[in-house]
Symmetry: C2
Subunit: 521 residues, 2 copies
């Protein structure tokens, strides 16, 4: 069992004595009143005491994060054995809770913030983002309409404009144009809301019974979130057109293939209405040809969406901005600040060129939500730009990241990860037992251990075993994909604590495991 | 301008000196490195320093929360005048940021945690919930699949089982049955996912082209989230059947009216497939007759959903549990722990009787997410129970609320608010100028100032003005609805800091404003 050195910090002890002695009785503090009437669940001094203890617990967690296995090694059902089967009638102490977090919860955590986390794409935490989460949880507002906390809506509008300028998005995406930005929870929700906007825009023209004719175009490298969005929106499954990406172009889609698919569909009487392009695909961080796809979309009056969930962050650097060329032809653009931009999950940024389509598809206005500001049409009510009604004050954390780090540092942060990925790529290239599978564009390296020519499944099991033994060691966490039928390992640099030493150690581990596997083969 | 007394606390000063002197240079600490390479966005000691400062800031906020206007009094566009129009290139100091939060953000916050907040329904914060948010933000995992943090999925399964037992839900809703519970962001998402499950279950039987025939039933008191879910799911607008609630039954729906609507639709060749009942409607906290509606749904093989977003919390008290009688006939049940259960937003609990319908409607399984545990079918992957792929570790905060307060205290907490609402109701009844509009069931009182018989609009403007002047005073925040054409004021008790003195002060304010309005009429 991996134990946190928590409670041993002089700071934590000092805090307990200093702030909270009046709350303490005996060995542990109980936070429920002894009778219900005395429960003070939002007592400022209790919040202060407990909050300080939690800060120390968390700082200690980060201090010792390298001591935990990156990928949790527990077995399914482990926690049920450790917890009671019903909620306690009487309150527990915070000390007991901390013990349980150390002993029962943390072993089941996969440490996305570990410097040796290289799986999927990153999920960045940072001090600034964390402070933003704290403050948002403290205000605990529900910002569905402007009036329910004007600062929440207005700060969101402002930081999304800031971000659009950092990305050099066309001015139509700014809030003083017919467009504007909004924070969604995830890229899945972003693509869903624009798909709905596009669907309803098209149905308005063709009649609602033409739903069965609507066709969506994407590549086989497009994130599965689009397929799910189509399921939700009622797009007929046979009208979700998956165009095979071009392996000669690093798995970007070939515009000609899209044009051809559209022609076939048009001649069948179907209605092409939505193209999704990706900047930084999930499998290999491929970049679809935006200008060509944008032209196709415009030529057929289709909605053009760009998913730059991961790679959008890199495009704040001038030397990577060219990957967004063509965005001026898009109807909507999405990137996740919670992936590689130091903003704690969730914070997915969506811009649209014409917000009226979103509002038309997603607005409701019951009596109980009516208010002066909304009725005067002088404000934005973000409830009409998203799936849920309620929404958190998420702009705070993004604002804090931008303020406390500044654009130049954020650019350097991105560049540093890309350099580390380049370094890893060089290491792979230097070992003839391995091959790099696609040209590295951002901070993801796709590679594999070359199988013997006689290998029965083309290296699938060999590379699966390499990944599995590496992950089971607890020392790193990497994930995989399949490209052109080949099982490929993905090494995505992007955790906030990752340094060159972690990349080197990961590579050494992979080399050592490869040697063992080759020896036993 | 209302200023926080922050920075004046000896505790905060001590912390700065004690923990962080090595980080400080000159007057303020900059949290970006001076060159990009040195940016350490997740340095444990910096997190500790800044986290402690934020805890003190937040505790001070709660200490002084009564000094702020409950409803923000800013004008639309106020923040744009106060902030620059692009992100800073160089980092700001935390001191500057705190100044901006005090001077620019807080004036635009509507204080949902104020003890004098009585609008809409509450959004509870608590020390335990806040600690859970902190820890969740610290781990910052993305728990789409079991493997991405087994503790996140398993703790969620366990606490939802605990909660189901607290509510005495039938055993089919527990995780060891074919059912189970899951945390959604909001009740809007909860009703959307079950509507999609029901839609796809029905389409499977009738063929996907029958979408245009599917009919949804609800009352005119059902939350607008259902209408929005129907829009999203592609239910034809003319097939969203809004049955007028029965004003003689406190605006609960009459089952006979639903039966009649179904008969008409059946004879038109339509397919009734979904009934939504509410326990605690948004306007007046009415309770629909669950057993009768359940029978109707079962008789027609329809999905029966219960929305108890607000009033579900009360049903953990034995004396209110009878409001859930009939839940055994439901396919799905939803309540919001983030409303009136001390769990910070967002945390909406959804249980289904047969999870396979959710999974069938919402699952995708791309190669890059495949893993041993999921493929062995030995675990739950909550990505297939919800709209987004990514998800936060939200069970932590609910677990902490249950652990640190205990069921008995939580029951007392609820009862206390209901008693305060009863007290307010008595106050209204004692003043013949006012009338109570519906029998109070939980902690909401619907009332209005009686208009003179000659009043041109039946008291609409009079009560609007009463609400507006009260809210504009900054002393309280209440909201309104319309019942049977009458403009009605809603007084919802449920903020964690509310005590009898706040209810009394609110009533006094309303009485005084009523006197002024009557005098000027």
């Amino acid at each position: 069992m991996y134990a946190l050195p928590c409670g041993a910090m002089p700071c934590a002890k000092l805090l307990c004595c200093f702030c909270c002695c009046q709350l303490r009785e005996g060995g542990g503090t109980s936070y429920g009143g002894d009778d219900g009437g005395s429960l003070r669940p939002m007592d400022a001094e209790q919040l202060r005491e407990c909050g300080h203890r939690m800060v120390d617990f968390i700082a200690d967690y980060y201090k010792s994060i390298e001591r935990f296995p990156v990928l949790s090694q527990v077995q399914p059902g482990y926690l049920k054995e450790l917890l009671p089967d019903s909620a306690p009638n009487r309150p527990d102490t915070l000390d007991t809770l901390f013990d349980d977090i150390r002993e029962k919860i943390i072993p089941g955590v996969t440490h996305w913030q570990s410097p040796s986390y290289f799986a999927y794409y990153p999920s960045n935490s940072s001090t600034a983002g964390f402070l933003g989460e704290m403050l948002s949880a403290a205000f605990n507002i529900v910002g569905f309409s402007w009036i329910t906390s004007p600062a929440a809506t207005e700060l969101e509008v402002i930081v999304l404009d800031w971000f659009a300028k950092m990305l050099k998005l066309p001015s139509q995406f700014l809030s003083d144009a017919p467009g504007g930005g909004v924070i969604q929870g995830t890229a899945s929700e972003a693509v869903l809301v624009v798909l709905l906007a596009a669907r309803d825009r098209t149905l308005k023209k063709h009649g609602k019974k033409s739903l069965e004719k609507l066709v969506v175009y994407a590549s086989d490298q497009t994130h599965s979130a689009l397929q799910k969005a189509c399921q939700i929106a009622g797009i007929f499954p046979e009208n979700f057109r998956v165009v095979k990406a071009d392996c000669s172009k690093n798995y970007a889609v070939a515009p000609e293939a899209v044009t051809e698919a559209i022609s076939v569909d048009l001649s069948s009487g179907l209605i092409p209405f939505f193209i999704c392009a990706t900047v930084g695909t999930t499998s290999s961080s491929a970049v679809d040809p935006l200008p060509e796809l944008g032209n196709i979309a415009q030529g057929h009056d289709m909605w053009f969406h760009i998913d730059a969930a991961y790679a959008g962050s890199a495009c704040i650097c001038p030397e990577y901005r060219h990957h967004l060329d063509g965005v001026e032809k898009a109807d909507s653009f999405n990137m996740n600040a919670h992936k590689w931009f130091l903003t704690n999950f969730d914070c997915s940024l969506l811009w649209v060129k014409d917000r009226s389509y979103l509002v038309e598809a997603l607005s409701t206005y019951p009596e109980f939500l009516k208010n002066k500001a909304s009725q005067a049409n002088s404000v934005v009510d973000f409830k009409d730009w998203q799936i849920p009604l309620g929404r958190r004050f998420r702009s705070l954390k993004l604002w804090m990241v931008l303020r406390l780090y500044g654009v130049e540092n954020l650019q350097s942060y991105i560049r540093n990860h890309i350099q580390l990925a380049e370094h890893f790529e060089q290491l792979v290239l230097s070992d003839s037992r391995f091959e790099v599978m696609t040209p590295r564009i951002f901070s993801l390296v796709c590679f594999r251990l070359l199988p013997p020519t006689s290998d029965h499944d083309g290296g699938r099991q060999l590379n699966y075993d390499l990944m599995d033994t590496a992950n089971s060691s607890g020392k790193i966490f990497i994930s995989h994909t399949v490209l052109a039928g080949k099982f490929v390992l993905r090494f995505a640099v992007g955790a906030p604590l990752t340094e060159e030493q972690h990349v080197d150690a990961a590579w050494k581990l992979l080399q050592d495991e490869a040697t063992k596997l080759s020896g036993s083969a």
